[in-house]
């Protein structure tokens, strides 16, 4: 259906955008230090960093998925935008300032301040890599699914090309520019996202003479569900186990956001703890504004395009915003929104790749393998190689994993972050009795619990939509493991620390590993 609207403008626009980004990136001087590569020397302004942080959180799932879900399921879809907004409160209260004032670059650095350096750096590095890879694959799979729906069946072969193209682009970007490049692309994308989202929402409201009531009535008519569209119950139909499932997913979204490595890394790019707090404030305010616009877009798509037409175009509703843009402004607006969607994917993918590369180079290579003796130049080189390795791996996996459901992958990444990273992070910041054993138990335990539960869930076997539909070993009823694995991570962290005995707790605080050039950071 959208096929008629797409013009040759899209590649032109996109190439223009990418070239502009590269040009701006090369304009500034570079010192070539790890601190610059990882966190831009920590000299970003809070407002700038806040906008970029907002960009980090807003993946393609937020731009396309949330309005799509609202257009398909009405009220039930609006629940999906509340969790990410509320999770900012958790991040602000528990993580922001403490994390900023006590970490150097990575989650491993934070843990190693009080605990033994090598084991916790390795554990944190493994957890970070896994979470980042899952998140990366989800974004790339989403981008290729988007290509198909924009270009129609003619784009079937384009899918892999888009995955590989975006992957290559982000690798080049990160290798050349590190955090500076990631920040730049996030800022551009975030501004486009807020502007585009708010603009589209105003256009939708203008159709109904700025009367939200008229919009809601039209959405209820266009959905085919009538008034039921505006009340709970369409998405999951009968309650029962689905109620728990939805609870589990919301818990993972709420808690897991505080453990996403690419968000935590961005906290370190400002110079003071209060700067970190202020940048999160900016990001949270922008999130609330954008989600209000997303609700308008979702109901607008249901009203103007019709739920049936959206579901016919893409069963998961991911193209609802594109269809809406085509309806409102024809070919030009559609091209702009599609361009925005690709920019969103590229930006998020760049940020996550950087976090994974940092963890690989700093935690696993720097602190675990070389025991912190590596020089700054060498670590920077390893970080660049790591970006290539991580990017290539994610791109290859995304090509093979394109049948996986995007929201499943994102939910799993959040559940992993919530059950492996968040418990160790919170314990290390708020509990003096936390030990090295507790940290490794909670990280590895959280990882293993989540992965095992997902393997035993209906997502992998025993249902027609599963990964292995002809097998059935689904003994765990929930699709998202968060409800069990997050408490398990906390419990294991406590248990490991309690079993270590009092002797382990009084171990002297080790001197944190500092890169030779660390003293040059503008702190």
């Amino acid at each position: 259906m959208t096929r008629d609207y797409v013009t040759a403008d899209l590649p032109v626009f996109f190439v223009f955008l990418v070239c502009a980004l590269f040009l701006v990136m090369w304009a500034g001087p570079q010192r070539g230090t790890v601190s610059e590569f990882y966190v831009s020397d920590g000299i970003l302004k809070p407002a700038h960093n806040g906008v970029a942080l907002f960009g980090d959180v807003m993946s393609a799932a937020a731009l396309l998925g949330s309005p799509g879900l609202i257009a398909l399921t009405g009220y039930d879809g609006t629940l999906s935008v509340l969790g990410p907004a509320v999770s900012w409160i958790v991040i602000l209260l528990l993580v922001a300032e403490r994390y900023h004032s006590t970490t150097e670059f990575t989650i491993g650095d934070r843990l190693a301040r009080r605990l033994k350096s090598r084991p916790v750096h390795l554990a944190a590095g493994v957890a970070t890599l896994l979470v980042c890879l899952l998140y990366l694959i989800a974004q790339l799979v989403g981008a290729s699914a988007l290509t198909v729906s924009i270009l129609g069946t003619a784009g079937e072969g384009m899918e892999q090309a888009v995955s590989i193209g975006l992957g290559a682009l982000m690798i080049t970007y990160i290798v050349l520019g590190g955090m500076r490049a990631a920040t730049l692309v996030q800022t551009v994308k975030a501004v486009m996202l807020v502007g585009g989202g708010a603009g589209l929402a105003v256009l939708v409201l203008a159709r109904y003479d700025f009367d939200p009531g008229a919009l809601l009535s039209a959405a209820a008519r266009g959905s085919g569900h009538g008034e039921d569209f505006l009340s709970p119950g369409i998405r999951f139909g009968d309650a029962g186990p689905m109620g728990l499932d939805s609870l589990s997913e919301q818990l993972a979204l709420l808690i897991g956001a505080a453990g996403l490595p690419h968000l935590l890394m961005r906290i370190g790019t400002v110079s003071t703890p209060s700067g970190a707090r202020r940048s999160i404030q900016y990001a949270a305010q922008l999130t609330c504004v954008f989600y209000l616009a997303a609700i308008v877009l979702g109901f607008g798509a249901a009203a103007l395009v019709g739920t049936d037409a959206i579901a016919a175009n893409n069963p998961s509703g991911n193209t609802a915003v594109l269809l809406l843009a085509a309806n409102l402004g024809g070919s030009l607006l559609l091209t702009l929104v599609a361009c925005l969607a690709f920019a969103t994917v590229l930006a998020v993918v760049a940020g996550v790749t950087l976090a994974a590369a940092t963890s690989l180079a700093h935690d696993i290579y720097g602190a675990f393998i070389t025991r912190g003796t590596v020089s700054g130049e060498r670590e920077l080189f390893v970080a660049r190689v790591a970006a290539v390795v991580v990017g290539t791996t994610a791109t290859m996996l995304a090509v093979f994993a394109r049948s996986l459901n995007v929201s499943f992958l994102v939910g799993l990444a959040f559940a992993l972050a919530g059950s492996a990273i968040v418990p160790a992070l919170l314990y290390s910041m708020f509990w003096k009795g936390f030990t090295t054993r507790g940290a490794t138990w909670s990280i590895y335990g959280g990882l293993v619990t989540s992965v095992v539960l997902v393997c035993l869930s209906p997502q992998v076997s025993g249902s027609p939509t599963a990964l292995l539909p002809h097998l059935d070993f689904a003994v765990f009823p929930l699709r998202n493991p968060g409800l069990v694995s997050i408490p398990a991570g906390f419990l294991l962290g406590w248990l490991g620390s309690a079993l270590s005995g009092p002797a382990a707790r009084t171990e002297p605080v080790p001197i944190p590993r500092t890169a030779p050039e660390g003293a040059a950071r503008h702190r």
Binding site: G83, A85, G213, V289, L292, G518
Partner: protein
């Protein structure tokens, strides 16, 4: 900002509070207390209130006037945590400013401590006026349930965040369990569920805005630069 206007620009040192013409001030304290720059929390509560009150430390006041000023200042601040925050901020503003400002702050604090000690000396057991006895600011904070001041203000931020998070839990549970409630109409097509959703987003934005201001005014002044949690490497 109220407490920042407290320092008279031209302090008059012509008259002394213990001037003979005020016969209701017959005694001097045995040891006139001197400001201790290291820990303002050990200052008497009455001295803190006098310092923050609109009284001019160059003038003389009767005991009634002093009591009224202390009581009004106590009422206007209410929360001891805010009081402590303003007090420290005001003191540190003097320390960080010019030599003249620092001298004014020091002088005003000495005046407040002297008057407070004098009042406490004459009303040692007056439980109806707790701010007149020798209660220190840190003791006042403790009796108000604020064990560690920074921790106390942070806990307040948690408490304010609780309703916002509770609203989220409420929305999730109602959407699962009580669909009838959520479908009830408020105005035309707008129902309770949608209204709560929008209220939630606005509440999050409002809390974030409030938290930023609260941290600037209440938490940051308490966290002196030397006592941040831990420093970066």
């Amino acid at each position: 900002m109220y407490p920042q206007k407290k320092h008279p620009q031209q302090p008059q040192q012509l008259q002394h509070p213990q001037h003979p013409q005020h016969s209701q001030y017959p005694q001097l304290p045995q040891q006139p207390p001197q400001p201790q720059d290291d820990d303002p929390l050990q200052d008497p509560l009455a001295a803190t209130l006098l310092y923050l009150s609109p009284l001019d430390h160059g003038h003389l006041y009767s005991e009634v006037e002093l009591s009224r000023a202390i009581k009004e200042c106590h009422l206007s601040y209410g929360n001891p945590a805010d009081l402590g925050a303003w007090y420290r901020q005001s003191l540190s503003a003097g320390a960080g400013g010019t030599a003249k400002a620092a001298a004014i702050v020091h002088e005003r604090r000495a005046w407040a401590l002297r008057i407070a000690a004098d009042l406490a000396d004459r009303h040692p057991y007056d439980s109806s006026l707790p701010w007149l006895s020798g209660v220190t600011l840190s003791e006042a904070l403790r009796t108000a349930g604020v064990q560690h001041t920074v921790r106390g203000v942070r806990r307040h931020a948690f408490l304010v965040a609780t309703p916002v998070i509770a609203l989220y839990v409420l929305i999730s549970c109602l959407a699962e369990a009580a669909e009838g409630v959520m479908a009830r109409s408020v105005a035309g097509p707008l129902n309770v569920g949608l209204l709560l959703g929008v209220v939630q987003l606005v509440a999050v934005a409002a809390w974030v805005q409030w938290y930023g201001r609260y941290c600037r005014t209440s938490v940051d002044p308490l966290v002196a630069p030397g006592e941040r949690l831990e420093h970066r490497p």
